[in-house]
């Protein structure tokens, strides 16, 4: 059951990730990334991180990608045209990176053959909350500062000068 869920989520997530970065239509890009993020959320749930799974959908799918979609529609961005000049460097670098990552994955799997422990600490909201308000309190407060800074920065960037 868990195994089937994992492989289903993995295959669907990877396929839609490929669509998300390769399709020419920006709206399709964003929507397939939603599917990928949903599959990642399923994986979190399988790993016992139920709070993260909910937060992933709430933050990523519910807020961040809606913002993306909003900007795509606001700019009414046209479909990407083929490059005017060929760019062999980027293409080579991209393919090399994919290969390296795939090879790295294979190396890792040979090193990490053990199964995950069936019982682990459950990432419930209480457990995460205790960590956030305890040992990670400073980082937690700092993140709110970061968000505030980002908000002010974004406002300044898009503000029209009169």
């Amino acid at each position: 059951m868990v195994t089937a869920a994992f492989y289903l989520a993995a295959v669907v997530g990877l396929a839609s990730a490929v669509v998300a970065v390769s399709h020419r239509n920006p709206v399709i890009n964003v929507l397939s990334l939603v599917v990928t993020l949903f599959c990642v959320a399923v994986n979190y749930a399988l790993l016992g991180a139920e709070f993260l799974a909910a937060a992933q959908i709430l933050v990523y799918a519910g807020a961040i990608l809606v913002l993306f979609l909003f900007v795509v529609m606001l700019l009414n961005a046209p479909e990407e045209q083929p490059a005017a000049e060929p760019r062999p460097f980027q293409r080579a670098a991209g393919l090399a990176l994919v290969t390296v990552a795939a090879l790295g994955g294979i190396v890792l799997i040979t090193g990490l053959r053990g199964s995950l422990p069936a019982e682990g600490p459950q990432g419930t909201a209480q457990a995460i909350g205790r960590l956030l308000a305890g040992p990670y309190l400073f980082a937690f407060e700092f993140i709110s500062l970061l968000l505030l800074t980002a908000m002010v920065g974004a406002l300044m960037l898009v503000k029209r000068k009169h």
Binding site: A53, I57, A63, V66, M73, A125
Partner: protein, 343 residues
Amino acid sequence: MWASLAVTASKLVVVAGSVLTSVAVMEWVERRGAAFIQDRLGPNRVGPLGLFQPIVDAVKLLFKEDITPSSVNKGLYYLAPAISVFVALVTFIVIPFGAGKDVQVFGVPLGGLIVAPDLGVGILYLLALSSLGVYGIVIAGWSSNNKYSLLGGLRSSAQLISYELSMTLAVLGVLLATGSLRLDDVVAYQATHLWNVIPQFIGFVVFTTAVFAETNRLPFDLAEAETELVAGYHVEYSSMKFAAFLMSEYINMTTASALIVTLFFGGWTFPGMQHFSGWWLLIASVGAFLVKLAFFLWLFVWVRWSLPRFRYDQLMRLGWKGLLPLATLNLVWVGAAMAMRWI
């Protein structure tokens, strides 16, 4: 294993069935209620008091010609109504709609009238999935390839993001008082304390206003705004696909009302509850829940036919400069009151 699975499945069927029935009932209530408020008769030809009108409407919508405009993005155009209905339907499973902890069916404990009692993230699940509802509207607006649809979709995405913040902050006040994300615990807390609406009245006002915006109902139906955008995001939809959007709006209304009842009005609890037990408690609690639910559903209809629509900048100003500070104030108040042990 199989017995508990069967219990969960039957709870699911009951919930889905009642929620879908509420669509038909609410359609009748809305049309008769509008007529009552506007001093007209309303639909009164089909059945007693026009009660069978929803059936007739459904048949009409089913048999209407299903037009797909040639310029739409086909896949997404078909996907959008499906997303809307799906998201509306799956959110109800974390809402407890009756007592029943001590009731057994054929020896299997019922575990309370809630489809997913073991979901620890409870309300977070509901918020997460309902935040996906915006995709149905945005995709419909974009894939229709129509400027009115696109404007409706854009407006609604901005509106939903803005009001989701205040809504979540208002919910946070309740969660702070309860100390749990499960709606079961929220109800249990209110059974022994005051209903949350009294200590957290600001939170209740903010939450109710925000869910009106979240369900795209008047006075916040800027996404549809039939007088300026024709019909907003669903201009190009006809027949059953149009009906799907209508259904999701009414299902969302039911979920929103159930959420208001659960968070602020004690859920299925009622005064004098301790005199009941077993099946009687179950029946009485479901009845209490339905009465409260009906009141808030009527409130939705009442407001819709009483208030004019906001202008777009007024809507944004209300959301960001009115509700958000109020919701924060409520959160500070709840925190302070808890620290002083007042609630």
